[in-house]
Symmetry: C2
């Protein structure tokens, strides 16, 4: 893939002398950005441009060509790719549009392109993209004339959408963030996002990667590549709305919309999710600072008003205001009493501006062990202190690097001065107080979590009972049905997931006998492949306390169901003992099209119905993630002994999540599972699934 | 107050020829901003500046002075104010610092200032402020030299903090938002925020008002003034963190932190709350557009990628993508087929740029009845289409005004072009897709809600039973205690709030008799002024079903409580019937220091404990607000017949909220009330408070 970003010679195919020829825009950009390789123009009409010949075909070029950039009508592209193949070109950027986005005919054109590419072993970016930029060597293939203002730097960009990619370049230019490489992936017919990512995580000059995604083809691959990265990856994911609307047949499915899975997946592999452009700018900036290794923030401000806003934000993001030790306060008091309005954190420095004084305070604060980072809120009056202030900020940058602690600099001043600082200081400049603190929290969270995201997640080997479980699934699949409750319970038990035992029976007499065997009270549940929401139609009876009660319930249930669902074939009923005590969770999982097996846990009953309060992870999960899933639930305090209650056995729940994770990884034919409720008993007493639905792949 | 903003002559007191004299900064600014009135310099050392005499005292000025601007050491200010009074000056701006913010001594200096001001009927801004700016006449009293870049416009600012105020001026300059008046209120010793607001809502050239508050002195006055305003008011409120930490003695108090009350109050009086500077810029911009009168948004974009992001944001903020009727689609198809990539909403216009084509599409869309507003996502390549694009945007502005529907324009382009547009287009320009849609939602919500915020809220007259209720309160106050449960119930009943009836008894025999009278089962609750959290120490027994049970429970309870709280004086117990059925809410209220009576409602039991899910309003409330409070609770669906349950009598709950609202307005001596639980029965069956705590003002 290096040839895409570092070609020594390129052919631009689709150039003509017509004034509205778009290929000319590519030539313009290559020239403006100072491309250092050879450029060969190609176009069927030929001609001469800037003293160079326009070749009528790539085959006419007398030299080796590393990369073809194609911008010709869609119907011509496959043939041109073929010629490129003949010429020995192995990499291309196809910017032409008019393919699948224009319907069936375009799709056929794409199919031919794929065949041609396969024939020659040729790889290509696009189609329907604006191509590639490399600030290092001046490669710049977009066809709209660009201003090369964005500086050379360490941020590389992969954007599915060209338009959004261009907005990000504008943002970076404005914020003084330097670009390294850019690729607009377009229809991703041949080269996928994940491959670009794989290249960039190994690309030495790239320090940070930003992805803009509209769809995710292979979520697991994306996660795997991201986990290998030693560079921060930021990603935005659009096209959320449509996703949420997929039809769900279980609680788990409806509670784990694709977008929530994307959230979980990104977090698990250390990708920082971005929701809008403002956040992107601030997040990229703050990641360029040294890492914040704890939550103790010092706020140093020239304006009391800004200090108050920052202190609020500090509390809001969960940081602490670092406690200044008495010795520190006394030292400041001795040296600076007259100048400092407030000798606490936030330090309000007031209106005096003495370079040395500012630097000494900041250095002294950085030296303090109990301070993990500083927000410096700087108000500048350019007219009288512009040059002094520029020098101050440059020296704060040095201090931050020397002490390896972040100093996030906010400035309030006129926009020309802000623009100058962003372009020239080579250090991030923030312009909103709240955003400055929020960004610093991202810095903290990223570096605190990234090692955990890289923890290996592998199922060492399939569970010893996998084949036994699989045979149960196959039997049902052959009968084109989902598992019956007692079968699903068996599968769970095979994986060590505790499920209440039950006895399936076929008539009233057996039901009474089974109840006697299990001991009263019992529950009775209908068994029928046509009925999956049992309780909605009277297929569940709880708390049956006598033989007569069981017999009555049996007759009632069958009569009711024959009335409600005359077409349902009733296999019988399942008799279960009643479980008492404990609190309820819901646990489940499903196979996600992009990310594969996904599991979730939520507070049971009304909580999940009303508040949709669940936590989600892509399987397999680590033991740490299992505990984290449980702990991040709002309301889990009730399971931990809040308000004088008995603490519940959450270790057992974590174990269930790990087993469920393996089950879904081992047996992808299970499309969805709901264990609802999972009854959780007091500490050391475990937990027990009382009901389960298991939906199989029947295709 | 007009003299503060429109003085014809001013005295700047504290001017000297020393190069670090801050007063010179004021003179500089007045000159730079082109102040159109007379300026008199005053300073004890005298001298000559720019050919004008520096008077040694205001008394030496031979002319009438409308406004004094004082920037002298704190200890001199009171005397100078006195001289101003003698001179006949009735308005002053005191910029000097060193008052209450520097401790006790400063506070004493403030007291003298107040006395002097009272003596002369002199009103002043500050101290510890940077004063006043009026772009109309060039008045500009801050002492730091400013760049007068910010344009004349219709936004006026009241900021408690000078530093934050300056940041806002920078923001406005950068965003092309025009300033009308600015005042930094400082310590607000004499003139309060509410008075400035009162002036500005009547000030003809002011169209929009932004407030930055650090504290609120008189919340009810603020609300009253805001309700009178015909101009949008935006406000940020800092200093949130410390507020949240007040100690609370009831559920209501702990759930209604001051910041949540501020939220409710602002909403009730139509103030738009701003959380950071980015939002402020976008919100001010979007309010300058015509109002969006429905939720149907059309998205028109030059980039498919931006369109997708906008569609996501549309869903996220609760807008609908307007449905384009078939006739509209066909018309576009006929005229523009070749150019438009996607003939749905969002309309993806692709790369062609034809001014006429863009305008016709936008006008046709504005003409559509089912479209309430447009987001136009514009990507500009300045090099080749800058002038065309500027003309396009100017004409879109005209269309938006002609059709009286907002067209929010987002542009993606290089920053010089963005800066040009912001400064020259005289129409808001947005630069983040998500923020554009979010801002438009604010426009919709503001105009949809503002009339309701202005609905009169008055308690016509006190409740007919107020005096009877007050005598019960007075009795308890005289005994330095809170109300006993049965007394609190009586007060509620006097106001028509349904409380379960109970019989207070003093011994076991009476308890048994009372139970017999009420009918079994009954509840028993301890009565003691020392015990307010009854159930924590065994002071509540429920479901007593027999006479013997009542007798046992009585003995048990008294024994337990004598052991647990030997110092508690036990008055007896309260016997109540048990209520069955229904669902539980919690309802309460308290007196807030800034906003007076405040009421709240939340889902009962675990919901309020775990999720803190409540809604809050400042009393008195309107019937519409009572219903809104209930309806905005997450989880209220359970009370409305969700999942096959019986709908509950929420009309009765709304009635209870209205009565509680009157109760708290009539009887401010009640500091806090919790009615917990309020049992809500099925529709038409009402609701019933089962327990209540009422905490009185005992000062």
């Amino acid at each position: 893939m290096r040839a895409i970003f570092y070609p020594e010679s390129i052919a631009v195919i689709g150039v003509s002398l017509s004034p509205d020829n778009l290929g000319l825009g590519i030539i313009y950009n290559l020239t403006e950005f100072g491309f250092r390789g050879l450029i060969h123009e190609v176009g069927p009409k030929g001609g001469v441009i800037s003293g160079r010949r326009i070749y009528q075909s790539v085959l006419d070029i007398p030299e080796v060509v590393d990369l073809a950039v194609i911008l010709t009508p869609a119907r011509t592209v496959a043939d041109i790719l073929d010629q490129c193949g003949q010429k020995g070109i192995r990499w291309a950027v196809v910017e032409s549009a008019g393919f699948r986005e224009h319907g069936e005919e375009g799709k056929k054109l794409e199919e031919r392109m794929v065949q041609v590419a396969e024939k020659w072993g040729l790889r290509f970016v696009g189609p329907n993209c604006i191509g590639v930029i490399n600030k290092e060597n001046g490669l710049c293939t977009p066809f709209t004339p660009l201003n090369p203002k964005v500086q050379l730097g360490d941020v590389s960009i992969i954007s599915q959408s060209g338009g959004v990619g261009m907005s990000v370049l504008n943002l970076m230019g404005n914020e003084g963030l330097g670009l390294n490489k850019f690729v607009s992936a377009g229809n991703m017919l041949n080269i996928q996002t994940e491959e670009f990512l794989e290249y960039l995580i190994e690309d030495p000059p790239t320090g940070f990667i930003y992805l803009h995604l509209e769809g995710i083809r292979n979520g697991r691959k994306l996660m795997e590549v991201a986990r290998r990265s030693r560079k921060p990856i930021l990603a935005s994911k659009a096209n959320i709305g449509q996703f949420g609307k997929s039809i769900a047949s279980s609680h788990t499915a409806s509670l784990s919309s694709n977008d929530r899975v994307v959230d979980a997946a990104f977090r698990q592999c250390g990708i920082i999710r971005i929701n809008d452009g403002t956040a992107l700018g601030n997040d990229l900036k703050v990641l360029h600072l040294p890492s914040m290794r704890g939550k103790n923030l010092a706020i140093i401000s020239r304006s009391g008003g800004h200090a108050v806003i920052a202190a609020d934000a500090c509390e809001f993001v969960g940081f602490n205001l670092a406690q200044f030790p008495q010795a520190f306060i006394e030292e400041i008091e001795k040296h600076f009493r007259a100048s400092v309005i407030r000798l606490t954190n936030p330090l309000d420095l007031g209106d005096l501006f003495d370079l040395d004084f500012f630097l000494r305070i900041i250095e002294r604060t950085l030296a303090e062990d109990g301070v993990d980072g500083i927000v410096f809120l700087h108000t500048i009056i350019p007219l009288i202190e512009g040059p002094k202030s520029r020098e101050l900020l440059a020296r704060i940058r040095e201090l931050s690097q020397r002490y390896k602690k972040p100093v996030a600099i906010y400035v309030s001043t006129e926009d020309q001065e802000v623009a100058w600082l962003k372009r020239n200081l080579n250090y991030p400049i923030f312009t909103q107080v709240v955003e400055t603190v929020r960004a610093l929290e991202l810095n903290y969270r990223y570096y605190a979590g990234i090692e955990q995201a890289r923890e290996p997640r592998k199922i060492e080997s399939p569970h010893k009972n996998r084949e036994t479980a699989r045979s149960l699934l196959e039997k049902a699949q052959n009968e084109k049905r989902d598992l019956f409750l007692h079968e699903a319970g068996e599968v769970l038990n095979l994986y060590g997931l505790p499920m209440i035992q039950g006895i399936p029976v076929a008539d009233e007499g057996e039901a009474v006998k089974a109840a006697g065997r299990l001991g009263f009270p019992v529950a009775m549940k209908i068994i029928s492949k046509e009925i999956s929401h049992k309780s909605d139609i009277g297929g569940v009876q709880l708390n049956l306390r006598t033989e007569a009660g069981v017999a009555d319930a049996y007759r009632d249930m069958l009569r009711r169901i024959r009335q409600a669902c005359p077409e349902a074939k009733i296999e019988g009923v399942l008799i279960q003992p009643m479980a008492t005590g404990g609190r309820e969770l819901i646990i489940g999982g499903r196979q996600d099209d992009q990310f594969g097996p996904v599991i979730l846990v939520g507070l049971g009953g009304i909580f999940v119905e009303v508040f949709g309060e669940v936590s989600i992870r892509v399987a397999p999960i680590t033991p740490r993630e299992a505990r984290e899933m449980i702990n991040e639930l709002r309301g889990i305090g009730l399971f931990k002994g809040a308000r004088g209650t008995n603490p519940s056995d959450l270790e057992a729940v974590a174990d269930v999540l790990l087993r469920l994770s393996q089950l879904l990884c081992d047996l992808p034919e299970i499309r969805e599972i709901d264990i609802n409720p999972l009854r959780v008993f007091p500490e050391k007493e475990g937990c027990l699934g009382l009901d389960v639905r298991m939906i199989l792949d029947k295709s």
